[in-house]
Symmetry: C2
Subunit: 179 residues, 2 copies
C-alpha cells in the first residue's frame, strides 16, 4: 500500500496512538488502513472411495494438482464459498459436509478452511482455472505433484484416518520453510 | 475504496475480464483491488463454572458485555490472535482449548472463530478497550446487555450443552435483521 484508498494521498507506515503495530495511516484524511489475513475455502469432494482433484491452469503452481479452493468472497458463508470454488474450478456440484481442517499460514497471512463434501454427480469438467479434473483413489493420488503443503498435509491425514475408520477435525499451522 | 492504493489514481468499479463480480480496478496501473471477509477471533475464558466477560469501552456497543475477541492480525494464527485479544482486553492469560464455534456474518463480511479457553489465574483487569472485566456464572450472565448476536448465540448453546454434559463444535450464520 502506497496511497490512501480514501483520498489518494501517500500513506505513512507508523504505529497509531493507542495501537501497538505499525499501520498504513493517511496523513491527510487520518484513515488507518488495517491489513488482515484472508480466508481460503475449499473442500474434498468424495465419490465412493475416490476424491476429486483439479490440475491448476493458473499461477502459482501451474500444472500441479489441488482440491477445489480459493479466496472467500465478501457476502458469502464459508460453505457457500467452498461450493462456489468447486463449481468454478471443476464444474462440480457437491453437498458440503463436515468441517475437516483449518490451517493457519501466518507467513502469508492466510487461513485455509477445508470441508468434506459429497459429489452429487459425475458431470464435472475443468473450469477456466483448471487444466484437468479427475477422481483419484488413495493409491493414485499424485503426491509428488500436489500444488501446496496446505493440501498435502490434510490429504495425508485424510487417507490415514479413512483407513482407521475415523475422520475428525484437525487444526494446524504451515510454517515458512527455512531458506 | 475511491483511489488506487498502488498509484493514487481514482479507481473504477467493474467486472474484470475472466471474473464474475465487480471489483475496484485501477485504470492507470491495472491493479484489481479484491475485498475479502475479515476474521474475528475470540474465546470463552473458563474458571471453574464461571466465564470471563468484558464490558466494552469502545464503539460499537459501548457499555455492553462480550467475550474477549477482535480482528485477527496478519502473521498470527487463530489461537495466537484469540490469546492476544484476551490479553489486550482483559489482561488475562489463558490456555486455549478446543474450537467451539464458527459464525459467518455475510452481510458485514466477517467470520467469527471462537475457542474455549482455560483462565490461568485471576489477575485479570480491564484493558484499554474495556470498562470492566468480570467472571459470571450461568445465572449471572447479562443476557440483555450482551453486545452482539454473534456472542449471544454461542453462549446460549454453551450453557445448554454444559448442562447436558457435552460441549461440541458448531457452525452457524448470523443473518441480517429485517429492517
Ligand atoms: Zn486519506
Ligand atoms: Zn493504480
Amino acid at each position: 500500500m502506497k496511497f490512501c484508498s480514501n483520498c489518494g494521498t501517500p500513506v505513512e507506515l507508523r504505529v497509531p496512538e493507542g495501537d501497538n503495530l505499525p499501520r498504513y495511516v493517511c496523513p491527510a484524511c487520518g484513515v488507518v488502513h488495517y491489513q488482515n489475513p484472508k480466508i481460503v475455502v475449499g473442500c474434498i469432494p468424495e465419490w465412493e472411495d475416490r476424491i476429486l482433484l483439479c490440475r491448476r491452469a493458473i499461477a502459482p503452481r501451474h500444472g500441479l494438482w489441488t482440491v477445489p479452493s480459493g479466496f472467500m468472497e465478501n457476502a458469502e458463508t464459508l460453505i457457500q464459498g467452498a461450493a462456489r470454488e468447486t463449481l468454478e474450478e471443476a464444474n462440480a456440484r457437491v453437498e458440503m459436509g463436515s468441517l475437516y481442517a483449518i490451517y493457519n499460514i501466518p507467513h502469508i497471512n492466510q487461513v485455509h478452511v477445508l470441508f468434506r463434501a459429497r459429489l452429487l454427480d459425475l458431470d464435472f469438467k475443468p473450469g477456466i482455472e483448471s487444466l484437468d479434473v479427475q477422481l483419484f483413489g488413495e493409491a493414485e493420488i499424485p503426491w509428488d505433484t500436489l500444488a501446496f503443503r496446505v493440501i498435502q498435509e490434510p490429504l495425508k491425514r485424510y487417507f490415514e484416518e479413512r483407513q482407521q475408520g475415523k475422520l475428525g477435525f484437525h487444526m494446524g499451522t504451515i510454517e515458512e520453510l527455512r531458506k
